[in-house]
Amino acid sequence: MAFQNSTSTLPLAAVPKKRTRKHTVGTYFGATGVGAVLVVYALIILYPLVWMIFSSFKSTNGIFQHPWGLPIKWDFANYVNAWKEGISQYFLNSVIVTGVTTVLVLMVSALAAYGLTKYRFRFQNIILMVIAGGMMFAPQVSVIPLFKLVQSLNIYNTYWALILPYVAYRLPLIVLLIRAYFMSIPHEYVESATIDGCSNLGILFRIYVPLSKPIFATAAILSAYYAWNEFMFANIFINNTSLKTIPSGLLAFQDALNTDWGGLLAGLTISALPLIVLFLFIQKQFVRGLAEGGVKG
């Protein structure tokens, strides 16, 4: 509403030069109203998070007695507790699962994208459709047969029970992204390399991959973001508490810390931090990566 006010006051019949000016009194008035909405929305986002951080430094009693405001004394005991009570282990598990998943997705996708770009061969389009078509199938649909599959492959309760399905569910999107990028690489590069006696793998790793760093960064972010936050498979395919990743481990952590609210909130804060910090450092790549993934996935 205020947004509309800001512009309806622009005098259409006024002197032509004034008409194009951006800032009129009405604009400021309307902008203040709209600005207030933006600020309120920002507070709705920030307040729970700030409360989480403040409370993570309080004792459980402190949270009950003074739910608002700063902690009286900044006590790191909750963090030490949370770290010892299991968060450190979940953290390590998440790092391993995310790292291996990301590396595998990039390798398998680069190979497939290269094969699909550089060659013309029978069933090429069908193979591309089979890979891309995987995007249609939600993990929910397959969770029961996958559960049976990881058991019969003897990988239930291991990191592989998460890594292998994660790779499979990220491949369609990443293969498409990398393939599109590879197709934009001029043919002359490849020809000159072939004359220089490069093998196929040599062309892939010495020509294509170095020229495609931006798309590999995007692909790495998309894969890592997915693997770090995935919850359903993590909750079902791993039952052993010491192997759980952060999203599923936190539920076990909640049970273990039942009444220790400060400790639980410290655990939540530790778990939320890595991606936020990473985001603040590489905001541009992050947004570009998720935007590309969001449109296509």
């Binding site: 397959s142 790779v167 919850f231 359903m232 939540l268 778990s271």
Partner: protein, 292 residues
């Protein structure tokens, strides 16, 4: 030499195909078969029952409730993550706010980076009836008679979860729309400014048509996501109290892994499969018509 040249493209695509075949396509096919069985993995019995699971399913009041819940979920999500997000993105990209919009964009985006388990557990505190921030806030602004046990009440639990979902996801769609708006040629806006077009009109005559395709895609993505929602419901209410906030994915989980009704759960999964395929087809169709 010739032989390797002919084999190599297949060697390059083989690992990807193997992953897809084993972990995506095989389970989908297997699930169709499971849905025709009455199967309790503990009793080790499997019995072919034809379409009985599907017939039972569409007479199951809990499943029908779960479908109703996800429909509400989808409608509310479209309102917030499409319409409101698009307006906020347009405001953030307006010249007046361009200088400060980066900080707002960053703040709105933070929840997208946090895993749903963290957010879910955090909101359990916020909804807590005795010390939760929501009730405390209501008391503070004189609305204490609205304070209640948000998650313990079967009328409010579903909406409490949906709210958390919007809290997390709006930042994502706002970011998508901001990226889309930034791609619009500035000349279009310059022309509108010379015309003295009102901002509201600029929004409807330039911004909206220019991001139309993006809006369609995001809309389909949001609706499909709503029908598949699992994490927030599982973490925050577990589908309760009673069955009041049950959604198909949590009901599937419960039937499969708690009640050991694998065949019945597989049938639920296939209904979800049908829904997602329908929306994917709509999306491809819209995309084609959009490009003509």
């Amino acid at each position: 030499m010739m032989r390797t040249a002919k084999m190599s493209p297949y060697l390059f695509v083989f690992p990807a195909l193997a992953f897809m075949g084993l972990f995506v396509y095989y389970p989908v096919v297997k699930n169709l078969q499971y849905s025709l069985l009455k199967w309790d993995p503990l009793a080790l019995t499997q019995q072919f029952v034809g379409l009985k699971n599907y017939i039972t399913l569409f007479h199951d009041p809990v499943f029908l409730l779960s479908l109703r819940n996800t429909t509400i979920y989808a409608v509310i999500s479209v309102i917030f993550q499409i319409f409101i997000s698009l307006v906020i993105a347009a405001i953030l990209e307006d010249v007046i706010f361009r200088k400060i919009s980066a900080i707002f964009r960053t703040i709105y985006f933070i929840p997208v980076l946090i895993s749903m388990t963290v957010i879910g557990l955090l909101f359990q505190f916020i909804y807590n009836p005795s010390v939760g921030l929501l009730n405390e806030t209501l008391k503070l602004i004189g609305l204490s008679h609205f304070a209640m046990s948000w998650l313990g009440n079967s009328k409010t639990a579903m909406y409490a979860v949906i709210t958390v979902s919007q809290w997390q996801s709006m930042g994502f769609t706002i970011m998508l729309f901001v990226v889309a708006i930034q791609k619009i040629a500035p000349e279009l806006y310059e022309a509108a400014k010379i015309d003295g077009a009102a901002r509201i009109r600029t929004f409807f005559s330039i911004t909206l048509p220019q991001v139309k395709e993006m809006t369609f895609v995001t809309c389909i993505y949001t609706i499909t996501g709503s029908f598949l929602v699992f994490n927030e419901v599982y973490v925050i209410t577990g589908g309760g109290p009673g069955y009041s906030s049950q959604v198909p994915s949590t009901y599937l989980y419960q039937q499969a892994f708690i009640y050991n009704n694998m065949g019945y759960a597989a049938a639920i999964a296939n209904v979800l499969l049908a829904i997602t395929i329908i929306f994917t087809l709509i999306q491809t169709k819209l995309f084609k018509t959009g490009k003509e």
